[in-house]
């Protein structure tokens, strides 16, 4: 196959699709928009008769489905999602509440406005690329053909009327140019339509803020809960562990003091026991400290801590960290525990032979990827591990996503918005 032709085809094909999509939207504008707008107005008017109490929510549901379709299209076309701004339906709402929920939501009225405004916009813009294309094709093929058959024509492009063979031939380049224009405008038309959708169907500032408040309330509640649980755990560990051992230690030493003169041998045994107990208390405290804030994280930052984590694993782990500085301490800690948890999960479940950890910071986001070549098929909704990571990261507006096709390994991608402090001057880089 001729590569030039291939390039041409891959250029033309998506542009033909744009034109088709435009036509589809134009068709919807001429049918669904008109019908739904009329129905909405009728239903609202019918409120007086009581029928509207049922009709308005029903019609609104249909309008919202059409609007959602447009949001999805606009999201796909511009690469930026358009969130739906509707208020959530109150639980157990009766007829009146449902009606009230629909008519008091400003998004309902903005939908109606969009139905009306998008009608002419989508009709004109949607038809434009196809119309230009058709007219162009007519110029290239149709006009010379007809002239040849009939001998006369009203005109084409900028030449009115067409008079003679030369004028007729000129329609060919004109037609080609116009068809090209039709192909070129398709993408811009889509973009314009997406802008209209975003402006009218996207959340207003107020709605966006409301959603944000909702999200923050949830994540804060979870963070507070998690923190309280963590403190309880630490308290329990100290109480049953180091604290109890110190009590035993005091007892042993006290008793040894008593026995020192009377029974030196027994005293020595008690002291040996005390030493043993103190060793265990130290071990427990060390484990506890590691769980609160790993010392290696304090000493080496995220880079060193993740490397230290990898070295201690039973499978080879490739660590690739490129961070120009250090994130704020709380973010760093959350990031570390998120990576540690993912790595722990993979060693527990994946049966992997090899794993990768990759940390990057780009455009205000810290991205952490933990991947393995294991059995895959991890169900993100099943384990509590992922939920824990999610909660940890949510406190900082971070996100986690998992791809795990059966047999295709598992990739956990975590993102945390944060700024890095200026690079730490590492003592190891200095010349001694």
């Amino acid at each position: 196959m001729d590569p030039g032709l291939d390039v041409l085809r891959s250029w033309v094909r998506p542009r033909l699709r744009y034109a088709g999509q435009g036509l589809l939207l134009a068709l919807l504008a001429a049918t669904a928009h008109v019908t739904l707008f009329v129905l909405s107005v009728v239903a609202l008017v019918c409120t007086v008769l009581g029928v509207g109490l049922y009709a308005v929510p029903a019609v609104t549901a249909a309008v919202r489905r059409l609007a959602d379709l447009n949001r999805r299209l606009a999201g796909a076309w511009t690469g930026v999602e358009v969130p739906a701004p509707y208020r959530p339906l109150p639980a157990g709402a009766g007829v009146w509440r449902r009606y009230g929920w629909v008519v008091t939501d400003p998004a309902t009225w903005r939908d109606l406005l969009w139905l009306l405004l998008a009608m002419p916009v989508n009709l004109v813009l949607g038809v434009l690329p196809s119309a230009l294309l058709l007219y162009g094709v007519e110029g290239v093929v149709g006009v010379p053909l007809l002239l040849w058959r009939l001998g006369a024509w009203y005109g084409y492009g900028v030449i009115w009327p067409i008079d003679g063979a030369f004028d007729a031939l000129l329609t060919v380049p004109q037609g080609a140019l116009i068809a090209l224009l039709g192909l070129l405008v398709g993408d811009h038309v889509r973009w314009l339509q997406a802008c209209v959708v975003r402006a009218l169907l996207g959340p207003t500032r107020g709605a966006a803020l409301r959603q944000r408040v909702q999200q923050l309330t949830e994540s804060r509640a979870e963070t507070v809960d998690a923190q309280a649980a963590e403190l309880r755990r630490i308290e329990r560990d100290l109480h049953d562990g180091a604290q109890a051992r110190l009590v035993a230690l005091r007892m042993s030493i006290g008793l040894a003091e008593q026995l020192m003169t009377r029974d030196p041998e027994a005293a020595q045994k008690l002291l040996a026991e005390a030493r043993e107990t103190s060793a265990r208390a130290l071990g427990e405290l060390r484990d506890l400290v590691r769980g609160i804030h790993p010392p290696v994280l304090a000493e080496r930052g995220l880079d060193g801590a993740v490397r230290a984590l990898a070295v201690a694993l039973p499978i080879p782990v490739e660590v690739d960290v490129d961070l120009p500085g250090r994130p704020p301490a709380p973010v760093e800690s959350a990031a570390y525990f998120a990576v540690a948890e993912s790595v722990a999960n993979l060693t527990k479940h994946s049966r992997a032979r090899h794993a990768w950890v990759r940390l990057r910071h780009d455009r205000g986001r810290l991205t952490m990827v933990v991947a393995d070549d294991g059995v895959g098929g991890a169900d993100p909704s099943a384990g509590t591990g992922l939920r824990g990571i999610e909660r940890r990261l949510a406190a900082f507006d971070g996100t986690v996503s998992v791809t795990s096709p059966p047999g295709g390994g598992t990739t956990v991608t975590m993102e945390l918005p944060c700024e890095l402090s200026s690079p730490r001057t590492s003592p190891s880089s200095g010349t001694g």
Binding site: L282, R286, A298, E299, A308, V311, P314, I315, P427, G432
Partner: protein, 213 residues
Amino acid sequence: MRVVIAEDLALLRDGLTRLLQAFDFEVVATVDNGPALLPALTTHRPDVAVVDVRLPPTFTDEGLQAAIQARAQIPGLPILVLSQHVEQLYARELLADRAGAVGYLLKDRVGDVGQFVDAVRRVAAGGTVMDPEVVAQLLVRRETKPLHRLTPREREVLGLMAEGRSNAAIANRLFVTEKAVSKHINNIFGKLGLPPSEDDNRRVLAVLAYLNA
């Protein structure tokens, strides 16, 4: 034997000083922060230094860094590093120069006075001493295939070897003859594909290098 001690907590610094003096060490300098450590090591050139990993002013790993830098300037300067926690990563960095005369122990071990002093002496004599915890961490790397082929006894011997113990010490610990120990060691070296060696230090390095690979 001349010692330099680097420890920021006065209580521990004085304790260490007293402990080592009681065993006839001469403490030539004590340091309580990172920047002062490197000059202290290079000017005093002690027979052995006992260094805390975490020191002021940044409370990160400057004790470890100073130790590594000092050994870069004076190869094989005996240094025993102490820490509240042990990391394989740090062990690897300390062993990287393969010069021996290096130790890495949990601070807890100071409590076992006899063993601790023994460890200081072994480092001063050019030996390598790794904390049992480091060794344990290494040995749980189940996937390190050749380790499967070791018998439990051989694993035990390997662990003690990595802690820097001599054949005699291992024999003592396991209640077997020295001859039995060297037989175990030959078996281990054979199974791990390492060249046999009688030198304690090279032995530990070889094992650790192998396990770290």
